[in-house]
């Protein structure tokens, strides 16, 4: 997989996710409507709403992702070192300057988002700035810029919002399936059970959708092309080492946004719900570091 077919694969996969989201939500509502005897009305409404949501997510998913992680945009004067690093490396990769965001959190981590290189943002935590040296920061920023260049950010942001939404729904219904019958009326419990079962049946599909977004290849490719930019593999290798070793989990990361970050923000702590825990599949840091050191 090289950079050029990575770009077209990412664009294609984004479409697949958007279409599947509409199909999934409409089907779900159809099942719900049938169980209630409402016919197709609900499914029709759901089709329109899911269509708008899916289309809208293409444009607003990056803002949503930035908002949920608590990232604040910074100017050159507020964070000169970070800003200059991003500026220099984007010159080196020929990308237009992305917006720079800071997350006020001691856990070192970073991510990039945006639908294309012209509407891209890079967010890093204050912990990352404090704990990494200049060359390590360069390694991380170069990795994130590679995600932007490869259009990984488009697919990852749309996946975070749409599949994340479905995963949250899944968790809600799974819980009600678990506790149904306790103080709830039989009819409502029955409907929730039906939807819960639909989710159980569909969970392998949802899981493979998430796999579309989180592929090991994607991270390895971004590592490699990032190094091509900085010409210094050790920078990223030791940055990953520091980030992986740091015991602090990132407070604002959620299941839906975890796959965006350069390293698993939960630090392998279980994050509750089993359905959305499907998101926690980062390639192991040790493997990436080993590869970087062999370059």
């Amino acid at each position: 997989m090289n950079v050029y077919n990575a770009v077209s694969a990412n664009k294609r996969k984004t479409w697949i996710i958007m279409v599947l989201f509409v199909v999934f939500i409409t089907t779900l509502t159809y099942v719900y409507g049938q169980a209630n005897g409402y016919g197709l009305t609900y499914a029709g409404i759901a089709l329109v709403i899911a269509g708008i949501t899916s289309f809208g997510s293409y444009y607003v998913s990056d803002s949503l992702v930035l908002a949920t992680t608590g990232a604040k945009q910074v100017s050159q004067d507020q964070s000169p070192e970070l800003y200059k690093t991003v500026e220099n490396l984007s010159i080196g990769s020929g990308l237009s300057m992305p917006k720079v965001y800071l997350i006020d959190d001691p856990s070192p981590n970073a991510f990039a988002t945006g639908r294309d290189p012209k509407h891209a943002s890079i967010a890093v935590t204050t912990g990352l700035l404090q704990k990494l040296s200049k060359t390590e920061l360069e390694g991380v920023i170069a990795h994130e810029l590679s995600h932007i260049k490869n259009f990984d950010t488009r697919l990852m942001a749309v996946t975070a919002i749409l599949v994340g939404f479905v995963a949250i729904l899944g968790d809600i219904f799974m819980r009600s399936l678990w506790f149904s019958g306790k103080g709830r009326s039989n009819k409502a419990g029955g409907i929730f059970a039906v939807i819960g079962i639909v989710f159980v049946l569909l969970s392998p599909i949802v899981a493979s959708l998430i796999q579309l977004a989180i592929s090991r290849k994607r991270e390895f490719l971004a590592d490699a092309s990032g190094v091509l930019l900085t010409r210094y593999p050790e920078g990223l290798a030791s940055a990953l080492e520091k980030i992986a070793r740091d015991p602090l989990p990132l407070r604002t990361a959620s299941n839906a946004t975890a796959h965006l970050f350069i390293e698993n923000p939960f630090k392998n702590k279980s994050s509750g719900a089993w359905f959305s825990s499907l998101f926690n599949t980062h390639p192991p840091a040790e493997e990436r570091i080993k590869l970087l050191r062999s370059m």
Partner: protein, 183 residues
Amino acid sequence: MEMYIVLGIIGVVVLYLWIVYNGLVTARLRIKEALSHIDVQLKRRTDLIPNLVETVKGYAKHEKGVFENVTKARSQLLSADSTKEKAVADNMLTQTLKSLFAVAENYPNLKATENFQKLQDELSDTENKIAYSRQFYNSNVLDYNTRLEVFPSSIIANMFKFQPFEFFTAGEEDKKPTKVSFE
């Protein structure tokens, strides 16, 4: 039947020519754009220098030789035309600036001024940006020049007279050790 096969083959060949030709044109445009990025940074650098020279002059009037060298290198960079000339002139400017900063080392009062520190920071930031834009330019040149060399795109490049581009390097100058003279 045979006519269709012949037509089909011709169609495929024309399509291939078309794709390779467009690829070459795009790669050439990318190089030109990358070169303009370098020019922006070089311009920024030359703009900073008169200010810097004036600031240092205020503290070290008698170091005339150093100022002359810097000013000369700057005007050479401004008048440089080809990529090679620019690269050489930029490299010379780097060398003369090194001796300027070496002179500044002897004047603690100068080094303490905010203006000097700001100029020094901006200059080193610009130098970093030049290095990165150079890297981007060179990687584009490598991509384009490779297409001119490898078969079969080399045939098409030859047919339409695509010329190779020069890398942005000062050549031999790069390898020489820095000479800092205190006169």
